[in-house]
């Protein structure tokens, strides 16, 4: 495999890793606060449709982004009400919301545009267009790093850089701020937070809302950057891969970045079986590459690749008792 191909693969990797990363960080907030969320997929899908539709109608990608966040927040709210206010089963709530999303997105898109559940192709300002980072052009001819910078690092949608930025931000919020401390505490032992005079509900709702926002951005990226418009089921299980990445990363921000890059790389490889064959020498069936992230996650869950211990209070609604 030559350098150009590698660069091309990495370029694709970054594009594919972005929605995973955003969704993964989204899940991180919610689950660190003790609210499991297998509804990332649904929120992303809802967001993708909202952004695709609004961007198509208004021609503004930024309005599209807002709409995406709004659509995703709506679902996050329902999840919060079900699993925090009414102490319902968080997993079932997530499953339900995923179904609702996969159906309602098509219904809405169809009724708006009558194009079989698609939104019309976005062009110009309705898309999140690539930005060329400073010095990309001049550096281009610098051997090795020049192309790397120009081809891989530079020339992506702003949302890609936002996603990358969210990693240190999340780390900082989690480990350096009061909110982060309380967030982690409420996911580990809500009683401790409660007896300390802090509202468990408030914290958990805040976390779930952040999850909504980030999923919104992820969805918007899918529809306005990675693709030019929304198509049915366009998230194609990315929400679950993000979930896998979250577990793989053991609920830690930086690890989440690496996990998502890894899984993004797998997805990129799946596009180029020829390259894979060139490297390993034997013909690797594409489905095997598709399944890789899931297999790895199971191995992690099984504790063969280091044990993944979820937040202790994860999945359980909080009930006062001594």
């Amino acid at each position: 495999m030559d350098y150009a191909t590698l660069l091309q693969l990495l370029d694709t990797t970054l594009r594919f890793a972005t929605p995973l990363l955003l969704a993964c960080l989204a899940g991180l907030y919610s689950e660190r606060a003790g609210v499991f969320d297998i509804g990332l997929e649904g929120k992303m899908l809802m967001a993708a449709m909202s952004s695709g539709a609004v961007a198509a109608l208004t021609g503004s990608v930024w309005l599209g982004l807002l709409a995406a966040i709004g659509g995703s927040l709506l679902f996050a709210l329902v999840h919060g009400v079900a699993s925090i206010t009414f102490r319902g089963n968080q997993l079932i709530s997530g499953v339900a919301l995923n179904f609702i999303a996969s159906g309602i997105t098509v219904l809405v898109a169809q009724s708006l545009f009558g194009q079989g559940g698609r939104t019309p192709p976005l062009t110009g300002g309705a898309r999140s267009n690539p930005v060329i980072l400073p010095f990309a052009e001049p550096m281009r001819d610098v051997p090795v790093i020049g192309p790397l910078y120009y081809e891989v690092i530079s020339g992506h949608s702003p949302l890609v850089y936002l996603a990358l930025l969210m990693v240190p931000v999340t780390w900082w919020v989690l480990y350096r701020t009061r909110f982060g401390l309380r967030l982690r505490a409420v996911g580990e032992n809500p009683a401790a937070v409660d007896t300390a005079g802090v509202s468990v509900r408030g914290l958990r709702f805040a976390a779930v809302m952040i999850t909504g926002v980030l999923c919104g951005v992820a969805g918007a990226y899918m529809a306005t950057a990675l693709q030019a418009g929304f198509g049915r089921e366009m998230t194609a299980g990315r929400g679950y891969i993000a979930l896998a990445a979250l577990i793989f990363a053991k609920w830690r921000p930086w690890a989440a970045l690496y996990a998502c890059l890894l899984f993004g790389f797998f997805q990129a490889l799946a596009l180029r079986p020829d390259v894979v064959e060139g490297v390993v020498g034997v013909k690797v069936p594409v489905p095997a590459l598709d399944a890789l992230p899931y297999v790895l996650t199971v191995l992690v869950l099984a504790g063969f690749v280091g044990k993944a211990i979820p937040p202790r209070a994860g999945g359980e609604p909080y009930v006062k008792e001594r």
Binding site: R178, A185, A196, K320, R322
Partner: protein, 526 residues
């Protein structure tokens, strides 16, 4: 000697020092259970006030109300002379109240510092708060011997140190009223002594302390005044100086006619249960049983006395096959496995061991199952409950249940009623009926009459004695001394995972046992 709430007032009343805490007519009910009934107490500033009472008497509930964790149905709270509404923990903290719960409220994988500042941070950023907490902790450590490594993870700390963190949390929030709910229940005597030194230090600094405990020794040792609770009511408040363990015990248990179970002398036969050097570690790897050895013979009742949490539960768990252990257990001479797949409730029952567990609601019964389903619980493999090799014979089971309900006077006698719909006492009768009716060689009984009304207590006691007279061996565990006294043929006292000694109920008294239960050995221990 005065036994009245007035006693408490005269004891500490002084114009200069208003009460730190006054509770007036506090009542709290949980569904059908009246946990607190019209409770009033006053606690003087700078004093240590003890509260004693049986399990379920309502102590924790009362304190949780004071801390804003539960909301009282009725009654008012006065702090330092001011009527204070305490709707939530936040306002309790603001009112200067700190509480150390029976079960600690610490985040296991946080450091001590993080736990201390949680909820009391200054500003949005942590850095400042952490620095300040580090400084304050150092001061407190010097002041009250409260030293803990501020950067240690809670999960790495011993229980005693975790408790210090809880106290530090309260002090860091400038609490001048400190509530400790059964703080020594989980401590070794050494740790307990250290705790008391800390409490005295706090008292000298003018802090007011409420101490909940079962242990008379502790009350006598450090409290100024003590209140006694029974079945949700405050039966008395006295000055510690003017009372005695005997009197307190009496107040605790109540002046109820000491149940005198009609029981003839035991005529013990061959050894049925022979336990030798039994050891058990819990999940945290802490040794809960430290080499127990005891024998129970056919036709006798061995009573195990002791304060809750001194290893009785573990003893029952191992004997009942619910927990693994090391050492030897022999039934009628032959060894039984303490680990591995042959050590479980089924194999134990096959060996003729029946078990009335301490906690009927979480162990003895499936609350959502019907009475008849519960009667099969643990015995669902019994041949008489099977229609054929495939199916269970539910009709036979229901019939059997009706029979048992009749003999044990379970009310209402409806086999199809869900276990949760029976009252506590009747739930217990179902369990006892199920186990005793198996006519086992050895019956393990834990807290057979906890939360059960007098009538039921008498009945259950009769059944146990009857089984003894039928030549069966019985191991009885109870925290209620008079129960132990009136039922047992021999009494062994457990403390801190060991047998402190053995006594003959006819030649011993509650005081002697109480001291042994408190770990005060008297050399004469067998």
């Amino acid at each position: 000697m005065s036994v009245s709430t007035d006693a408490g007032r005269q004891a500490t009343a002084a114009p200069t020092a208003p009460y730190a805490i006054e509770l007036k007519g506090i009542s709290k009910a949980f569904g059908p259970v009246q946990a607190n009934k019209d409770i009033s107490i006053q606690v003087a500033k700078g004093s240590i006030h003890g509260i004693i009472g049986e399990n379920g008497a309502g102590k924790s509930t009362l304190m949780s109300i004071l801390y804003g964790f539960y909301k009282a149905d009725r009654g008012e709270i006065v702090i330092n002379g001011r009527v204070t509404a305490i709707p939530d923990s936040q306002s309790a903290i603001r009112a200067g109240i700190g509480m150390v719960f029976q079960h600690f409220k610490l985040v296991q994988n946080f450091t001590v510092l993080e736990n201390v500042i949680l909820g009391a941070e200054e500003g949005q950023m942590l850095a400042g708060s952490l620095a300040k907490a580090r400084r304050v902790l150092r001061e407190l450590a010097e002041e009250y011997e409260l030293e803990v490594d501020p950067d240690a993870l809670i999960e790495d700390l011993s229980v005693g140190h975790q408790q210090r963190v809880e106290i530090l949390k309260a002090l860091y929030r400038q609490a001048d009223i400190l509530i400790l709910d059964e703080p020594t229940g989980v401590l070794t005597p050494a740790e307990a002594d250290h705790l008391f030194r800390i409490l005295r230090g706090l008292k000298e600094q003018g802090k007011t302390i409420i101490l909940i405990t079962h242990k008379l020794r502790e009350i006598m040792e450090i409290t100024d005044t003590v209140s006694v609770m029974r079945r949700g009511e405050m039966t008395a408040t006295v000055k510690t100086a003017e009372t005695s363990p005997e009197q307190l015990a009496e107040l605790m248990v109540g002046r109820k006619v000491l149940l005198h179970v009609a029981k003839g002398p035991a005529n013990p036969g061959a050894t049925v249960l022979d336990v030798e050097n039994l050891r058990v570690k819990d999940d945290q790897g802490v040794e809960r049983l430290k080499g127990i050895s005891l024998k129970v013979r056919a036709g006798e009742i061995l009573g195990i006395a002791g304060v809750a949490g001194n290893g009785q539960s573990e003893l029952l768990a191992v004997l009942g096959g619910m927990q693994a252990g090391t050492g030897h257990i022999r039934i009628k001479g032959d060894e039984i496995d303490l680990t591995g797949k042959h050590s479980n409730g089924q194999t134990r029952r096959a060996r003729g061991i029946a078990h009335v567990p301490e906690d009927r609601q979480h162990l003895g019964l499936i609350m959502d199952f019907t009475a008849w389903e519960n009667v099969a619980f643990g015995y669902h493999h019994a041949p008489e409950y099977q229609k054929n090799r495939l199916f269970m014979d539910n009709d036979a089971l229901r019939a059997d249940t009706e029979r048992k309900m009749a003999t044990f006077d379970v009310r209402p006698p409806i086999p199809t009623l869900a276990a949760k719909s029976f009252s506590g006492g009747n739930q217990q009768k179902i369990v006892v009926a199920r186990e005793i009716e198996r006519n086992p060689d050895l019956l393990l009984v834990g807290q057979p009459t906890r939360g059960v009304d007098i009538g039921a207590i008498e009945f259950i006691h009769k059944q146990i004695v009857a089984l003894r007279d039928a030549g069966k061996a019985i191991l009885l565990v109870s925290v209620e001394l008079d129960e132990i006294m009136s039922l047992s043929d021999r009494i062994a006292v457990m403390f801190d995972g060991r047998i402190m000694g053995e006594r003959d109920p006819r030649s011993t008294n509650e005081r002697e046992l109480g001291l042994m239960m408190a770990g005060v050995t008297d050399g004469g221990a067998a």
